[in-house]
Symmetry: C2
Subunit: 352 residues, 2 copies
């Protein structure tokens, strides 16, 4: 009989690393949902490109890709002396970091890698330093795998047989090095044998819910139904939604949460219909230095993301567009935060 571990191992992966050969692979997410293409990453320019072009995306996954990308960029240069090798570590880390300058996890992971090189005993060989960097990259990856797994185990307790479980955007396996954050509870519950229905909001304008979440849940075998974002409220009215779990970009000290645009509308509709609304995120997403959502600056993106869909024009080319990347959901609409430390219930006080 298939074990739970075997079932969970079948979840699609954003990236993978083979420690026997030091080979690094990513799933090219720009080709989803029509093609499933895994591409080996063999040089630093290619990894830069994969991050820049969103072939790999999602904060945790980008950090891990940066770490492995740096490692494989060093693989062929282990014959350099320590000084030259360390200079290359810095150079390639800076280069990779510039692929998405605002991605906090990318710079964090690269700083960890560079920190290993900077602190490495000078008497050790280049080969030994390379091995230490491999260990560090794998540790970053393993830590994320474990965080996702724990979020999944804690969150799975909220899902009951026959439930309807709704999500938005993609806080799934393909956004992380593991089984995701918002989708992790669904994967664990399904692997535990619970049967339920997932609802994926398509998530305009960039359609991560349609392109990625639907794909990964469907690929794994979870019963998933795709909806236009405007359908979510009506599904709740019909009584088909028992639970909503979404991810987070940033959580303020009072629990106010920035996440993909549309999150706060879901939360307000959930309150109206009495549906519990949860945020799933690594504990590190909580920022004790941001007192409330008021202090979170919402990024506005370009009009063309809304006017064009896959190159097809759907609105007047010169129309004004308001295109905020995310919104802030008030803490009092949130039933709990599903983290690797467990489910945190209100009242929230994450102050430092």
């Amino acid at each position: 009989m298939e074990t739970k571990e075997a079932r969970l191992a079948a979840i699609p992966k954003a990236l993978s690393f083979d420690p026997a050969s030091d080979r690094f692979f990513i799933l090219d997410q720009t080709r989803l949902p029509t093609e499933e293409v895994v591409v080996e990453q063999t040089d630093v320019e290619q990894v830069y490109d994969s991050i820049y072009q969103l072939k790999v995306r999602g904060a945790p996954a980008i950090g891990i890709a940066g770490a492995y990308g740096l490692l494989i960029s060093l693989k062929k240069h282990r014959d350099l002396d320590r000084d030259a090798f360390e200079a290359l570590v810095h150079k390639n880390a800076d280069y990779l970091n510039s692929s998405r300058p605002t991605a906090v996890n990318l710079s964090w992971a690269l700083r960890r890698m560079v920190g290993v090189a900077d602190a490495f005993p000078p008497e050790e060989s280049t080969e030994a330093l390379y091995a230490a960097l491999r260990t560090e990259a794998m540790a970053i990856h393993e830590s994320d795998i474990e965080t996702c797994r724990l979020i999944g185990e804690h969150g799975a307790k909220l899902i009951e047989e026959g439930n309807g479980v709704m999500t938005l955007c993609n806080a799934g396996a393909l956004a992380t090095g593991g089984i995701g954050t918002a989708l992790a509870p669904m994967y664990v519950a399904w692997a535990d044998g619970k049967r339920f229905r997932a609802y994926s909001n398509e998530t305009r304008p960039l359609l991560q819910g349609a392109r990625i979440t639907s794909w990964e849940l469907h690929r794994f075998g979870i019963d998933v139904t795709l909806i236009a974002d405007s359908v979510a409220s009506y599904l709740m009215k019909l009584g088909r939604v028992d639970l909503i779990i979404v991810g987070a970009d940033r959580v303020a000290a009072n629990g106010d949460t920035a996440n993909k645009i549309g999150t706060s509308s879901l939360a307000i509709n959930a309150r109206h219909y009495g549906v519990p609304f949860y945020i799933a995120c690594p504990y590190s997403t909580i920022d004790p230095h941001t007192p409330t959502g008021e202090e979170i600056v919402v990024e506005e993106r370009g009009a063309d993301e809304v006017i064009y869909v896959k190159g097809q024009q759907i609105a007047p080319a010169d129309i004004q567009v308001f295109n905020p990347a995310f919104d802030v959901t008030d803490h009092d609409l949130i039933a709990g935060f599903i983290t690797e430390k467990g489910i945190i219930r209100p009242p929230y006080n994450f102050s430092a």
Copy 2:
């Protein structure tokens, strides 16, 4: 100085009829927003096609197109004797009615036309009957123009200088023979010299808000901003929305209202943020024989409308989709109904 009438005359038209030459024209809405093409309709097959292919859409506009379509189909046959001519009236009316069998306004308008023929004094000439049919078609059109104008005048009183006014889908000039229903108050307020900002929800899956509402408001000169549907709630949170006006497919006797999917989510968010939420519709949209929204059957449409956007695949081809065409908004979320008879305030009792 330009008069209010002159300003209102500049609103884009779904269709037009020239009584001097009996020529009938429609704006091909399938070519919006990239091209503005007005096409003369010269035979009954062409009109059937225009309705079937949604070149003309919106309940009132389809009814008027049916009436004029029938008229121009008879134009070249005025030399027939009365019996042959009346047989042609019936044949062409049945044919046009089959272009969209579920469009209530289409069958209603065609029944009115056929009724004129059936009741016409047998001693009168074919030419005289044709003239009576022209008068009837123009009366159907004029009545809609007047209904829209009155909805506009009543609703315009709700709009104040500097307001943000939000709408969903297209209940605009291009859905009617006049200046629209939900958009009519905006046109009248703007023609009165009030300056405000309109927000158009793009309205997935068929994007009527992006393709049509944005286009017609922008074409007229109203300051309009397009948003993804999931942005509406956040705009309310920012305090930028003072008023929401949408159309209706059917209003039950207790005020529960069926309208484009996404309407009830807007209404719930409006309640949360204290934004007044109005329905604008002809009084005939109110159905006293439907007690509540519970009795309204919601049409479910095909998965491909969600999976493909202008032929581009945005989700797994075999994904399950829930695609309801509309939803039902509870009467207690509705601040009023803007009709040609004035603004109707709660409590609502439209029972027969």
